[in-house]
């Protein structure tokens, strides 16, 4: 296993599609395109202030979310981090619902009460992004606990980053999942930087996966820019989880193309490094090339997928922009399940 570094120049960037249904592969590509388009559109809206409160884009990390969720159904659960538009959309959340939440509108998935770090849709099994580093894994842990208790054959995936891998809670969660053999897929999206701190400067030990192996669960490293590779690792993990064999730890080596937050002008990495990843390890380009090579997608086919993504995001923005704002009089509603009387609220 290796720490997160730029792959060696000339290392094969091809994607192995053997055993993968081309229709599935095209679907994954379509999902990645939707996520890319969503964030590429929302980013400038956050910079301009139309979307309040800023945002964390996962641009470049799409293959991790799409690969992991490719093995999950709506009864399976995912919960993720502060950077999780990709997981939310990959898990099946409607772009309208997500975009309206970013806009702070009443028809957003949290009624405008959450924002981009608090997306959820329980009907598709997305139990929430999370503003607290490492905490999304805890929600997935609890979902897996419920699934294991019911022995219903479902599983949960919890996402966090390399930053989260340096929190104590993440390892409490991993230990409990391993000790209780819970049907949990632990997903570390190692994008190389915790905000501006490079992994190498902050993390002792060889790798996150290596650290995880000490908890006695299978721990694998996977190329997070290869959706098929992520899919295969996730499929193994889901099989184990559903069979009652306990959790699996997947460290996906990935890279975010944009800053920690939209508008960031960081000096912590070089333009050359970013461009290398964009040019040589872009998960969308790689999948497109692989499908074209295998003859399962032509230029027109790709253009069609891209146009669909563009249309869906355009529709989401139009919907969100036109959606009504929440009524300020509702600000203290639904804090509890009953009408809570607190003096001074009126």
């Amino acid at each position: 296993m290796r720490a997160h570094t730029v792959p060696v120049e000339g290392e094969d960037a091809g994607i192995d599609l053997s055993g993968i249904d081309p229709a599935d592969a095209r679907d994954w590509l379509a999902r990645m395109l939707l996520i890319r388009e969503f964030e590429s559109t929302a980013g400038p809206l956050a910079t301009s202030g139309e979307i309040p409160g800023g945002m964390h884009a996962a641009t470049g990390q799409e293959a991790v979310a799409v690969g992991i969720t490719s093995v999950l159904g709506p009864e399976d659960v995912a919960a993720a981090s502060h950077r999780s538009h990709h997981v939310a959309l990959a898990k099946g959340m409607a772009p309208r619902s997500v975009m309206a939440e970013l806009f702070g509108k009443a028809s957003g998935c949290a009624g405008g009460r959450g924002g981009h770090m608090h997306l959820a849709d329980f009907s598709v099994g997305f139990d929430g992004s999370n503003g607290i580093v490492g905490a999304g894994l805890g929600i997935a842990l609890g979902a897996a606990f419920a699934q294991g208790y019911r022995q219903d054959g479902h599983c949960a995936a919890g996402f966090f980053g390399d930053g989260g891998a340096n929190t104590g809670r993440v390892w409490e969660f991993v230990n409990l999942a391993a000790a209780w053999k819970l049907p949990l897929i632990v997903v570390c999206e190692n994008n190389g930087y915790a905000v501006e701190t490079p992994v190498g400067a902050a993390m002792a030990g060889e790798s996150v996966a290596n650290r995880a192996a000490g908890f006695g669960l299978p721990a694998v490293q996977v190329d997070g820019q290869d959706v098929a590779a992520v899919h295969r690792a996730a499929a193994d993990a889901a099989r184990r989880a559903r069979a009652g064999d306990g959790p699996t730890f997947i460290e996906a080596l990935t890279y975010r193309h944009l800053g920690h937050d939209i508008g960031e002008r960081g000096q912590y990495r070089t333009t050359e490094e970013v461009e290398w990843w964009q040019t040589n390890r872009d998960p969308i380009n790689r999948m497109r090339v692989a499908l074209e090579k295998s003859g399962d997608l032509d230029e027109a086919g790709f253009a069609d997928l891209a146009a669909q993504a563009t249309a869906r995001v355009k529709d989401a923005v139009e919907y969100a922009a036109a959606a009504p704002l929440p009524d300020p009089a509702t600000v203290t509603d639904a804090v509890t399940s009953f009408a809570l009387k607190v003096r001074g609220n009126q």
Partner: protein
């Protein structure tokens, strides 16, 4: 109030019996925490529940408060009704994010029920500063959490039963010195609702608001005051969120005086909220300033003489009640 099934028991056993009745009724209830199955918890609060319900439902957990509570939150969002038993409520510090930043906010964002109980024993006793923190005001300050603090076996049983049938995350505090408090407990259908304080002793001269361990202390003070003809009305809040200020206000309208008795630090505690609310509502009806009893502002010390110096007692309630009555009556004897 009580059904034929009511019986004399202790606060800890009443809690356990209430939980056992709910677990028998609803198999989505699971209990997790350290030392629960064999030991029955550090306060005998779940004695024999392990053998009765099995290891799937009464789970010994590693000493990982964040993991226990996170498992509880996520499971509560997915159809279970977990009770995370921290033994000592102080250990919630290791899971504050899971309680405050996760459990408390899920409904506000997404309307999703989080029927989670986090139980802990709390309050001043021997053992030093890290096992005896009064932290009820912290939790009472977090929108989305309910906070129970029963002082009698009847309320411990009735409140845990209500909590297990509710949809909200509940912090369930039980005072160490009341583990063995004896009294009647209700039957299987005797629920105590959240947000309803109770008048433990009616009186015309001064209202004393209390909760937890201060409720029996306030009653003891009321006995001594009565010997001198001062009739104190003692209110037991039973839950700190919701906080039943309406009953307090109704009482103070009659007595025109108020003493708030909490073991919590006097500075910035729940008593301050009660005092402020009453002066806002009843400034012209009050015959004396509202006085508060609470601990002085220091960590909980080890030496018994120091601990005694920190712990509010019945004599403090008595002293302040006499003081407000004296002010109210212009110094005339009652």
């Amino acid at each position: 109030m009580t059904t034929p099934a009511s019986k004399r028991t202790t606060l800890s056993r009443a809690y356990r019996d209430g939980l056992a009745e709910e677990m028998a009724r609803d198999d989505s209830i699971v209990v997790l925490g350290t030392d629960l199955y064999e030991r029955g918890g550090h306060w005998a609060q779940v004695t024999n529940l392990g053998p009765q319900f099995g290891r799937d439902r009464v789970r010994n957990a590693p000493i990982s408060e964040a993991a226990m509570v996170a498992a509880g939150v996520g499971a509560a969002m997915n159809g279970l009704r977990p009770v995370v038993d921290l033994n000592f409520l102080d250990f919630a510090f290791g899971a504050m994010d899971e309680i405050v930043n996760q459990a408390a906010k899920v409904r506000y964002w997404w309307g999703r029920p989080v029927p989670l109980v986090v139980r802990g024993t709390t309050g001043f006793a021997g053992g030093g500063a890290q096992h005896n923190n009064p932290i009820e005001s912290w939790f009472g300050h977090v929108p989305g959490l309910l906070m129970a603090y029963p002082s009698t076996p009847y309320d411990a049983k009735g409140l845990i039963k209500s909590a297990m049938r509710g949809e909200d995350p509940v912090i369930f505090a039980m005072h160490k010195m009341q583990t063995g408090t004896r009294g009647e407990a209700g039957g299987p259908d005797d629920l105590v609702p959240f947000g309803q304080a109770v008048i433990r002793r009616p009186g015309r001269d001064v209202t004393v608001v209390s909760y937890g361990v201060m409720a029996p202390k306030a009653l003891a003070a009321a006995d001594r005051l009565a010997a001198d003809g001062i009739e104190a009305e003692v209110i037991d809040l039973r839950t700190l969120m919701p906080l039943d200020l309406d009953l307090v206000e109704e009482s103070v309208r009659r007595t025109r005086t108020l003493v708030v008795a909490a073991e919590d630090y006097r500075h910035g505690g729940v008593g301050a909220e009660i005092a402020a609310a009453m002066q806002e509502s009843l400034f012209r009806e009050l015959d004396a300033p509202v006085l508060r009893i609470g601990a002085p502002f220091a960590p909980v010390p080890h030496s018994p003489v120091l601990l005694e110096a920190l712990t509010p007692g019945a004599e403090d309630v008595e002293r302040l009640a006499r003081e407000v009555v004296k002010t109210a009556t212009g110094g005339r004897p009652q």
